[in-house]
Structures are given as structure tokens and as C-alpha cells.
Symmetry: C2
Subunit: 354 residues, 2 copies
């Protein structure tokens, strides 16, 4: 044993590339030793946001990072849009808990390449999102970075205790819904990346990207679905489970199944896709369904409801029944338009696997 220890010490330890784990594998490894001490911490790692007990209400806390060169490319990302999006993606997490966001906190590290005017643009976008969604920009930290721009936003929200909606509440035979349409944000990124390459090859080129306006806006300036949460509340329906679609529909369905201990079946023909997204996808020789399942960054809501609530929401605009929850043993599957059953796989956006 002593020898082994020495050997181990003297040999250069073999280190593990985090890329071999992927984002979720890495998070599982890093958080496996966490134990919660405070009875007030109702939910820690493992949902869209943490939940803290305040008595009749709960507090909701999100944190999302946006990193230059990983989550955004300054060549085609206007700073005002970036600021807007940085706030919105956090609000989306609060709505996915069925809560109301109230305060935003901005961590900003920018290299000396960013002027005061650039950072003011970024702040203008953040304040615009705060105004639109009725949120206070209540604090933060501002510093330099050796290179690049890093945004770390946290949003604090609240909900009545009985309203909070976790990923874990779905039960067999619940119906699965999504809001809006899926896949467009990813197609927007494909267009922007292509135009960047074209610009690099020929800076004098003035490309006409107006026909891609919809998918580009979905990528650069997403909205959080506050309206959907309010519509469901007005209809008297509380989802049994809810998550926002940041990594792609397939990945989010698997999160709900894992946390709820269920399976799920969805139907390809029921997945809402916009005509403009489908056109762009075809242009890039990608199946629109693939964009919807794995594209990510749509920030739509995926939620399950008890069947008894179906009548209350079946005629509401902007939401779409795409399938249902099944027993755990049945896995998470999609019935394709041609009638085949394929297993859902999380191929969503994963910065660690790039």
C-alpha cells in the first residue's frame, strides 16, 4: 500500500478532460458532495432555479453565465441585444418555476477593449429587459477581464408556496405542452455564422439577411414567456412540471423524465415549428425536427398538465400539446411522422463538447 501511494505520488497523475463528461456529467461530478443544511433551502441544484422558503412565499434564485466566444460572438451580436438576452434567459428560469422575477444582479467582467459606450449599450439592453418584465436591477459586480466579456446574471423571484412548479412533478398520463415554436434560435445562429464567414472572405459584401429576420431575432433577442405563465394561471391550470427550453426539446424532456421518474412519448407532427425556421433549416440541409429537438435557446416553456385540466386550456393560443408522460420503464420516445418510434437523446447545446 505504501508503495502504491508512493508510485501514485511520483507518477504524473492522469487528469480528466472535462469534455469527456459533458456539461451535465461535469455538474453531476462537481455537485455530488453537496449536502443541504438549511430547512429553508427547498430546492438546490437540479431544477431551473433554487427555491428558498420564506413562509407563505418562496424565493427563487437563478444564475446563468454568458461567455464571449462560447455563448455569443461579438462579430454579430449587438451589445444591447446581448444585455437584453442575458436578463431574459434568467427570467425564463423564474417563469419555468411558475414564479415572478423581481430583482436582477449583474456580474460583468470586460476586457479593456470594451469602451464605456459599449458597456452603456450593454446596460441599456439589460435595463430595457428589466423594464419590460418589471424587474429591478438591484446589484452586481463590475470588473476587468484579461480577455473577453463575461456576463453572470442572477435573478431573484418569488411565488406563493403552492404555486411553485418543479421539474419533478410530472406523472404518467399527464399531457405535455410546449409554447411558441421551436428550433428558430438555432437556425438564426447558423445564418449568423454563415454570414460571418462570408464577411471574413469578402468584407465589401452587403448580404441581404432580411429574409432571415425571424430566426435571427429568435437567436439574438429572445423573450421569456411571462405571458404563457399568466395565461395558464388565468385559466386556473397549474402545470405538474415545467422547464424552459434552453438546450433543446429532447434534453428538456429527459430532464423532466429523470426528475419525475417517468417516461414520455411525443409526436413529431405535433412539434410546433415556424415556416421560416423550416425554410432556413432546409437551406442548411438540416431536418427542422432536429433543430426543434436539439437546437436550444428558444426559451419557450415545456410543461406537463393533469389530463383533467385539458378542457381548460385546449383552446388557448400559443401552446401546443405534443405528447404525454408515460411510466418510467417506457423511456422517452418520439413517434415520427412516418410512424417509427425513436428514442429521444440529449444532443442539445453543450459548451463542453464543442
Amino acid at each position: 500500500m505504501g508503495d502504491n501511494k508512493e508510485n501514485k505520488k511520483n507518477k504524473k497523475t492522469k487528469l480528466t478532460d472535462v469534455a469527456s463528461l459533458g456539461e451535465f456529467g461535469l455538474i453531476d461530478r462537481l455537485t455530488k458532495n453537496i449536502s443541504l443544511r438549511h430547512k429553508e433551502t427547498l430546492m438546490g441544484v437540479g431544477d431551473d432555479a433554487a427555491v428558498i422558503d420564506h413562509g407563505t412565499h418562496v424565493g427563487i434564485v437563478t444564475k446563468d453565465l454568458l461567455v464571449e466566444g462560447v455563448h455569443f460572438d461579438m462579430v454579430y451580436t449587438p451589445l444591447k441585444h446581448l444585455g437584453y438576452k442575458a436578463i431574459v434567459v434568467n427570467l425564463s428560469d423564474v417563469y419555468a418555476m411558475n414564479g415572478e422575477p423581481q430583482q436582477a444582479f449583474v456580474g460583468l467582467a470586460a476586457s479593456r477593449r470594451y469602451s464605456l459606450e459599449a458597456l452603456e449599450e450593454l446596460y441599456a439592453g439589460m435595463l430595457l429587459a428589466c423594464e419590460k418584465y418589471n424587474v429591478d436591477l438591484a446589484g452586481g459586480d463590475t470588473t476587468t477581464s484579461a480577455a473577453g466579456l463575461f456576463l453572470s446574471i442572477s435573478v431573484v423571484g418569488r411565488a406563493k408556496k403552492e404555486q411553485i412548479t418543479y421539474r419533478s412533478g410530472a406523472r404518467a398520463n399527464d399531457l405535455l405542452f410546449v409554447s411558441g415554436d421551436l428550433g428558430a434560435a438555432y437556425c438564426g445562429q447558423l445564418v449568423l455564422q454563415r454570414e460571418k464567414q462570408a464577411y471574413k472572405a469578402n468584407p465589401d459584401l452587403q448580404p441581404d439577411i432580411s429574409k432571415y429576420a425571424y430566426v435571427i431575432e429568435r437567436q439574438l433577442k429572445p423573450e421569456a414567456r411571462k405571458d404563457i405563465m399568466e395565461m395558464l394561471r388565468k385559466a386556473g391550470v397549474q402545470p405538474t412540471a415545467m422547464i424552459d427550453i434552453s438546450d433543446g426539446l429532447a434534453s428538456e424532456i429527459l430532464h423532466i423524465c429523470k426528475r419525475s421518474g417517468t417516461g414520455a412519448t411525443i409526436y413529431e407532427e405535433k412539434i410546433p415549428v415556424d415556416r421560416r425556421m423550416a425554410q432556413t433549416a432546409h437551406e442548411f440541409n438540416i431536418d427542422p425536427t432536429t433543430c426543434a429537438l436539439s437546437g436550444g435557446e428558444d426559451y419557450e416553456l415545456l410543461f406537463a398538465i393533469n389530463q383533467k385540466d385539458y378542457e381548460k386550456i385546449k383552446d388557448l393560443a400559443g401552446i401546443h400539446a405534443i405528447g404525454h408522460i408515460t411510466g418510467a420503464g417506457q423511456g422517452a420516445n418520439m413517434v415520427t411522422s412516418s410512424g417509427q418510434v425513436v428514442e429521444l437523446v440529449a444532443q442539445g447545446w453543450d459548451s463542453f463538447k464543442k
Copy 2:
């Protein structure tokens, strides 16, 4: 007017280097358009942390960034220490509000240079701090960066509403106290930077840094003064204003004066300095008082108390009366050991001015 507008548009706009503003100037500019909408947001930008109304209690939210190459140097910063410090500096902000930290949220962006084992070390340090200070690591976001390591920590705490202590409550004739001793963290950094240069010049050199153990530990592994907050509470004393010393004593005194609308007078001979810090400072030909006033990163508490409370705490260990609050017109001054009166200037650590 039309012409001016055109001119303005056609001329390349002159951009402002943020270095010309400094950290506080930049924050003032970026946050000047913020207005608060929620009555629950009791304190936004402008104190150690934001404060949110929950009825009988308040929630406290901090955010602090640690950026590789700006706040730490991987050549001499053990990752476990870095994780520990990243949590502690946020806890310090909660204690400075006279609150109890409860949940920590970790935003982590690391380049591919960081192995799983390296990130596990970092997490081990964060979890150690969470355990020691009885805080739940309750969420976060983990992603890659193009280069370097970025840590963005938020801590959520709570306090009874009547206990919360802002920077703004100091009144003329209050007494000013600091905990612990000041300037050592800065001296620790001086030693580490010198050793790094020596190592670069001759990697075979094995320097004996044991005589600097105290100042190095103050730099690499600071503690938050939970004990001081508890001691004051036990003594039945609530500070009228409090702040933690992250940027240096002078800068923090000016913060209290600005927010409280007061002046202050402190006495050089009363500033607590450790013998080991003073020795190191002399070795570097720096006045120990300068280290205490401008060094920063000590994470001690600076607080004001009403004179009527003096009897209750005058015999407590670990805190030191250094002066008193004066009227606004009198400015913030230090009486030197030789009897001169000098104005306090914020020359604290400012990443934007490097």
C-alpha cells in the same frame, strides 16, 4: 442641428476608455439610469449587498466576481484556496449587512486547460467554506470559457428587518471600529508576486517563504468575520453603519461617509496592524499604514456605533476603536502619528486602473 447630427454620425465617435473612470466611476455611470419598481427592493446598488423585503425578515443578495489574471494568479493560487476565498468574500458582504448567509450560487467558466480534478479541487474549497460558515451550495451555472477561469458567486442571506445594517446609518459622534488587523493581505500578495518573479528567473530556486506564512494566508485564504457580528449581537450592540474591508480602509471609510452624509476622523496610531505585516511592508519599503489604508482584501469589518454603546464593547477582544464620525463639512481625515491631519483618499485596489 441636422448638420451636427450628420457630422456626429459620420465622424468616428470618440470612445471612452473605462480606465479613465475607475471602478466606482464606471459603476456610477452604468447604474445612473436604474429606477426601482418593487417596494420589496429595500436596497439596490450602493451597499455591500441588495436587501429584499420578506415581511418580518429581509433577504440579502451579494455578487462578487473573481477573474483569473485580474483577481488571482494561477501560478501561486491553489485552487482549493481560490474556491474557499470566492465563497468567503461573498459571505463577508452578508455579515457586513449584519445578516446570516444561507445559500451560495456558483457561476463557473473555465477554459479547457482546467481538468476535472482541478475543478474538483476548486469545488472542494467552496464546499469547505460552505461547511465552515453553515451555508448551502444551492445552485449555479457551469460552462467553458475561451481562456481563463471566471468565478461569479452570489450568496443569499437573511436578517430580521430591524437588524439590517447599511452603510448609510452613521451619525456625527458615532465611534468607528475595525476588527482584526489590516494590510496583511496586500503584503501577502507582494510576497507572492516577488516569488513568482524569482521562480521565473530561476525555476530551481526553492525559496523559504515560511516567515511570510501569516501575510500569505491572509491573501490566499481570508476568513469572513462571522464571529465579530455574533460578538456584537451578544453584547447587545447594533452598528449604525457597517461595511467589509475589501478595497482598503480609506476607501471603505469614504463609502460610509458618502452614504451617511458625514465626515470621519481616524487616528493612524489606532489602526490595528500585525507585526508580521509591518515587517514585510518595511522589507518592500512601504509604510505599513499605507498597506492598511489602501491594501484591501482584508475582509475585516469596519463599523460605527453610537457612543452610548461604547461601554458594552470597550473590553471585547478583536475590535479596535480607530476614530469617530464627524459632520459632513469636515471631510474624511486621518491624524498621523506625528499629529498632522491628512485627507483620506481612496487609492484602494481598482482593477480598472491597473
